[in-house]
C-alpha cells in the first residue's frame, strides 16, 4: 500500500468512532429541513454546498423564524469562525500543497477531521503525504453526512425524539478532550471557554458565542503559558 493510501485509510479509521453521533445528527437535519418546507433537492444541495452540521442547523432555525438573509449569513459566518482557528493550526502542515489540494482539503475541514488529523500531523511532522489523513477523515465525514441527510429526508423521523440523541453531539466533543482534562492549564481554558459560551449564549449576537469564548480562553492560555515559563527559568 502506498504511503498516501496508508494515511488516507488511517484518517478513515481515526474518524470512524466519531461518526456514530453524526448518524442521528444527519438524519435529524434531513427531517427538520423537510418539516420546515425545504424541498428534498434543496436539502441535499445544502449538505453538499455548505457541508457543516452546525451551520446547516443554524440556517434552518433562522430560516424558519423568518430571519433576513443578512442575519442568516452573518450567523453562519459567526458559527464558522472557529474554522479560522482550525486552519491556522493546520496551515503549518499544509502550506506546501498546491492550490487545488488546498481547496479540496479546506472543503473537507470539519471538526472531527480536524481533531484527529491535528494529532496525526503533530506525530508525523516529516511525512509529506500526511495531508491524505485529513482527506480520508474528511471524506468519511462527508459520505456519512450525505447518506444520513438522504435517510432523514425520505425515512422521516425513524429516530424517536424521546431518545434525546442530540446529546450525542456534545459527548463527541467531550470525548475529543479527554486527554486535556489531565493538564491544569487545559482545565482552566476549558472551564473559562465553557462558562463564557454558556453565559454569553443569549447575550452575544449572531450566535458568535463560540468564537468569543474561544478567543478569550486562548488569550488566557497565552498568559498562563508565559507565566509558567517564567517560573521555570
Amino acid at each position: 500500500m502506498s504511503n498516501k493510501s496508508k494515511n488516507f485509510f488511517k484518517g478513515i479509521k481515526d474518524t470512524s468512532p466519531l461518526m456514530i453521533p453524526v448518524i442521528p445528527f444527519g438524519i435529524i437535519f434531513g427531517v427538520l429541513a423537510i418539516d420546515l418546507g425545504l424541498t428534498p433537492l434543496m436539502t441535499i444541495a445544502m449538505s453538499i454546498i455548505i457541508f457543516g452540521g452546525a451551520s446547516q442547523i443554524i440556517f434552518l432555525q433562522l430560516f424558519s423564524a423568518g430571519a433576513s438573509s443578512l442575519v442568516i449569513l452573518s450567523s453562519v459566518g459567526a458559527v464558522n469562525s472557529r474554522h479560522l482557528l482550525y486552519g491556522t493550526v493546520l496551515s503549518e502542515h499544509l502550506s506546501d500543497l498546491n492550490l487545488t489540494w488546498k481547496i479540496i482539503v479546506s472543503y473537507l475541514l470539519v471538526d472531527q477531521a480536524f481533531a484527529v488529523s491535528n494529532d496525526h500531523f503533530k506525530k508525523n511532522r516529516e511525512d509529506k503525504d500526511k495531508y491524505f489523513h485529513l482527506i480520508g477523515g474528511g471524506l468519511n465525514c462527508w459520505t456519512i453526512w450525505q447518506i444520513t441527510t438522504i435517510i432523514g429526508i425520505y425515512l422521516g423521523s425513524i429516530i424517536p425524539e424521546k431518545l434525546g440523541l442530540t446529546f450525542a453531539i456534545p459527548l463527541t466533543f467531550l470525548a475529543l478532550l479527554v486527554n486535556d482534562f489531565r493538564k491544569l492549564i487545559n482545565v482552566i481554558v476549558i472551564i473559562v471557554s465553557g462558562s463564557i459560551a454558556t453565559l454569553g449564549y443569549q447575550i452575544i449576537p449572531f450566535k458568535a458565542y463560540v468564537i468569543v469564548a474561544a478567543a478569550i480562553s486562548l488569550l488566557i492560555a497565552f498568559i498562563l503559558t508565559k507565566f509558567t515559563k517564567k517560573n521555570n527559568e
Binding site: 453562519v76 502550506s95 482539503v105 440523541l165 446529546f167 463560540v210
Partner: protein, 104 residues
C-alpha cells in the same frame, strides 16, 4: 434572495473560513511559542460547544436542577479520563443519560 442563492452564499462563507488561513499562512511564520498557544485551540473551542449543549434548555435558559445531561456528562468524562477511549466515552454518556431519563 432565492433560497438556493442563500445556500450558495452560506456555503461560500463556510468554505472561506476553512480555506483562508490555509491559503494565507506559511510554515515559516510558526515558532515554538505560537505552536504552544495553538495547541490549546481544541480546549478553547470544544467546551464552547459542549457546555451550552449540556447546561442550556431548548429556550436557551440555564438549567441546573432536573437536568440529567449534567450527571451523564460527568460520568462520560470520568470514563473518558479513565479509558481514553472515544467510543466508551460517548456510549457511557448516552447510556447513563437513558438510564436517568427512562429508569430512575
Amino acid at each position: 434572495m432565492s433560497n438556493l442563492a442563500l445556500i450558495i452564499y452560506c456555503g461560500l462563507i463556510t468554505f472561506l473560513t476553512r480555506f483562508s488561513m490555509i491559503a494565507l499562512l506559511k510554515k515559516e511564520m510558526f515558532n515554538d511559542r505560537i505552536r504552544e498557544v495553538l495547541s490549546y485551540v481544541p480546549s478553547a473551542i470544544f467546551p464552547a460547544i459542549i457546555f451550552p449543549a449540556i447546561f442550556l434548555d431548548n429556550a436557551g435558559s440555564i438549567e441546573i436542577e432536573n437536568n440529567p445531561k449534567i450527571l451523564a456528562a460527568i460520568i462520560a468524562m470520568a470514563v473518558g479520563i479513565f479509558t481514553r477511549n472515544i467510543i466508551a466515552t460517548i456510549f457511557s454518556g448516552l447510556a447513563s443519560y437513558w438510564f436517568i431519563i427512562f429508569i430512575v
